[in-house]
């Protein structure tokens, strides 16, 4: 049973990934819809970032995580190096949790 679950997940996930890539060649998309694709991908990534920053198991993630992400956001805006953005976001969140913020 376990192996069937893992295989189904693996095949399905790979299917989503590969079908998109392979369809890219097969579909002769008109120019206007080609322009929509990167915008759609940006919307998906923004939605992932926003839900990952704010929510946990369909509820609010607590204050420490969004606060840390906000620190990262401000640094990214000021064109800080990527590594600094990531480390500062994690560090700020860790520090706030250490101080007792959920």
């Amino acid at each position: 049973m376990l192996i069937a679950v893992i295989l189904a997940l693996a095949v399905g996930t790979y299917g989503f990934r590969a079908v998109g890539v392979l369809l890219h060649d097969r579909l002769d998309l008109p120019e206007w819809s080609r322009r929509l694709l990167p915008i759609g991908a940006a919307a998906l990534l923004a939605a992932l970032a926003a839900t990952a920053a704010l929510t946990e198991a369909a509820g609010f993630a607590g204050w420490a995580r969004p606060a840390g992400v906000l620190v990262g956001l401000v640094l990214a805006w000021r064109r800080a190096p990527f590594v600094l953005v990531v480390v500062a976001a994690a560090g700020a969140t860790a520090l706030l949790r250490l101080l007792g913020l959920p």
Binding site: L2, F16, L44, F82
Partner: protein, 243 residues
């Protein structure tokens, strides 16, 4: 670039270790835990599946995991040829397609730079996730909770940093912000995975706005990424100016 990927890779190593430890603690055999990281290779779906398997709902584990991963189809459609021209590259590259690898690739201009970014991020992050899982399986309960290190903030912060340049385009910014808002608002009421897919609905904004396109470069200096629509603009302009 390598350093940037390594930063996310380090976080993935730690979260992968926590996945390994959590899965083994939930009663999954070591081989199944390792196999999941290698052949499913989708962090969110793996954590969710372990929880649902442990709760005795294997069918739900598959459905929920696939719903969560459906977003990879539009990612693949967008990346397309950026994986390389040979067929084996497309087939192998598809397996390495994660949110982070996609974000690293799309942050680069189309063509060779994007292809290199995708493969660098794809391979390194895959190795990091699987090495982390192995560490977690071996170390078990000795692996700490990644939230103590604030790693749950590292991933959204990294995604936002990669997205910022793309959000300089006005249409992209509106669609992405609206999509992010839709996803956050619907997260409490929809099953996991659907809210993020719903963000694609924000593309309708472009249809509503019609063919009226702003001239290139118009208003391009106030990108507004995702979560903070009420950010004070003047501060950010100052930030731009400081570069």
């Amino acid at each position: 670039m390598l350093r940037d990927v390594a930063a996310i890779g380090a976080a993935m190593l730690a979260v992968g270790a926590s996945f390994g430890a959590v899965a083994v603690a939930a009663g999954l055999p070591a081989w199944a835990t390792l196999a999941m990281s290698a052949i499913v290779y989708a962090g969110g779906a793996q954590f969710m599946a372990v929880g649902l398997i442990a709760a005795g709902s294997p069918f739900a584990a598959v459905l929920a995991g696939l719903l969560l991963n459906a977003r990879h189809l539009p990612f693949g459609l967008t990346l397309g040829g950026s994986l390389g021209s040979q067929r084996w590259r497309r087939l192998l590259g598809s397996h390495l397609m994660t949110d982070e690898a996609t974000a690293f690739a799309l942050a680069q201009p189309a063509g060779d730079p994007r292809r290199r970014a995708f493969w660098l991020a794809g391979v390194l992050l895959f190795l990091a996730w699987n090495a982390g899982t192995l560490l977690g399986v071996l170390a078990g309960g000795a692996v700490g909770d990644p939230t103590v290190l604030g790693l749950d903030a590292a991933f959204p912060a990294g995604l936002i940093a990669l997205l910022l340049p793309v959000l300089r385009d006005r249409d992209t910014r509106w669609v992405a912000l609206t999509g992010a808002g839709l996803a956050v608002v619907t997260t409490p009421v929809l099953p996991a995975g659907l809210p993020v897919l719903l963000a694609l609905g924000a593309l309708a904004l472009l249809l509503v706005r019609g063919r009226r396109r702003p001239p290139p470069g118009d208003d391009g200096l106030t990108p507004d990424p995702g979560t903070r629509q009420d950010e004070p603009t003047p501060v950010l302009r100052a930030g731009e100016a400081s570069c």
